[in-house]
Amino acid sequence: MSLLKVDGLSKEFGGVHAIEDLSFVINPGTIHSIIGPNGAGKTTLFNLITAVYTPSCGKILFDDKDIAGKKPYELAAMGMSRTFQNLQIFFNMPAIENVMVGHHLHLNRRFLPSLLRLPAVVRRDRECRDYCASLMEFVGLSRYVGADAASMPYGALKRLEIARALAAKPRLLLLDEPAAGLNATESREIDEVIKKVARTGVTVVLVEHDMKMVMGISDAILAIDYGRKLAEGTPAEVRANPAVVSAYLGAHA
């Protein structure tokens, strides 16, 4: 059974096809990477899967359920969570609270208990804070537990988004270029974090430019260009695919 099934997906922006007739399947428990040159439509694809954008046509099934008409927060409740290429950090909040927002679905969200600060809410919040601190530790941010998000360096913010996404306890985690803008050491560390996440049983979908990283950690790779599928398969298969090679050579030439 597949966790995510994309079928004949297309997205147009003012007549331009960002994604065109794309179909693929993601199985549970894998690390799945999506690669492609700049402007190939990777981020658009993420935005479609997470319902930030609405498809022009095609279908997306998460857990065999059609997500058409669902809002991103509803998908989050179904077990899908993500990070962003352009950081979407809550800069007006402390780092730990960024992660705590991620845990939102698992807290008492009713208005009155919050307003009256009922003991149960306070207790649960304290547990949540501890849990989120442990998540920050998990992604290697233990020294930022008391920090304000606005004061953290870029690399740390990337991990903060991962911690926030994990706090939602997703089954499917989509990471949009988690290593972009990071130096080699930081990239390696992120690499480790992703593997650790996958080991906990979370299915990871990755958009990434860092080929070394992609080839190293992926179970499967989907290569796209101009919104269309170029190749699909294991890292070795995709690496050997002539279309992929030429797209990359072309893009880099």
């Binding site: 922006f13 981020t43 935005n47 930030v52 954008y53 962003f84 290429q85 352009n86 979407q88």
Partner: protein, 291 residues
């Protein structure tokens, strides 16, 4: 029946052209800085008041107009230099409060420098109404519409045909990139304030024979101008014109066919309705958040 409708349209045209001129000023500043300048109405007031006061003191109208435009531009540049520029990186709401503070300040200043009475200017081309299809229109209304048209053409030329104008547009799209290309963002900001002050002053002068002016005249014009600019889509000059005319005509038709007591409310309901379907106004760029 038709004459009646035509008369309503003329009434709307007169008010609408005034709102459009006010709205254009908002559009220019928004375009280059993404600042909404709530003191825009005060530019109009200063233009009208200083002209009226000088004319009353015996200065010929053309000279008085020119001086008034200069005075208003000076105020605009000073506002940018001393109030907007130092707060350039502040939050949108903070800047809104600064410009509202500026509008209160300028009103306070005007009531001291001048007075609290209403002032007028003679109509530029007399007060004999023109008869068109059984409806009447004052020549001054045509002046207002004409000035609005000239201004929009001039602005179009400036933003699309001159290097500096293009630079200003570029700044509005991407401040950093503009800076990298050697465009002085500060200069662009200052010019945009000077420009919209100029526009305000010109507007103030042409509308004074119709609406009169006093130190508080800018309040209403500021509000309607903002409405016009938002309805048209912020930062879009043509949008501001269309928005202004739409508000003016909606008000006139509402007082003609519905209820004059609720004409302003009708105009706002229409704006709300438009925003409901077009959250970026009639001609606003439909931005997709890039995430």
């Amino acid at each position: 029946m038709f004459a009646e409708l035509l008369q309503y349209l003329f009434a709307g045209l007169t008010s609408g052209a005034i709102y459009a001129l006010a709205g254009l000023g908002f559009a220019i500043i928004y375009n280059s800085s993404h600042v909404i300048n709530f003191a825009q109405g005060e530019f109009i007031m200063i233009g009208g008041m200083s002209t009226a006061m000088m004319v009353a003191a015996g200065v010929p109208l053309p000279v008085a107009s020119l001086l008034a435009v200069l005075v208003t531009m000076l105020v605009g540049v000073a506002l940018e230099k001393f109030a907007i520029e130092p707060a350039r990186n502040a939050d949108v709401t903070t800047i809104i409060i600064i410009t509202i503070g500026a509008s209160i300040f300028l009103r306070g200043l005007a009531q001291i420098v001048w007075d609290k009475e209403f002032h007028s200017l003679p109509a530029f081309s007399g007060e004999t109404p023109l008869n068109v299809g059984g409806a009447t229109l004052m020549p001054q209304s045509i002046w207002v519409v004409g000035v609005a048209v000239v201004v929009i053409v001039a602005l179009w030329w400036f933003f699309n045909r001159t290097l500096f104008g293009k630079a200003m547009l570029a700044t509005s799209f991407n401040r950093l990139a503009a800076q990298l290309m050697g465009i002085g963002v500060k200069k662009v900001l200052m010019v945009s304030f000077a420009l919209s002050a100029l526009l305000g002053a010109v507007g103030g002068i042409v509308v004074t024979p119709i609406t009169f002016t006093n130190y508080e005249a800018g309040i209403m014009l500021g509000l309607k101008g903002f409405s016009a600019a938002v309805l048209g889509g912020l930062g879009n000059g043509m949008g501001a014109i269309v928005g202004g005319l739409a508000v003016g005509i909606a008000e006139a038709l509402a007082s003609g066919y519905l209820s004059s007591a609720y004409k302003d409310a009708v105009a706002f309901v229409i704006i709300l309705f438009v925003l409901f379907f077009l959250p970026n106004g009639l001609f606003g760029k439909k931005g997709t958040d890039r995430v």
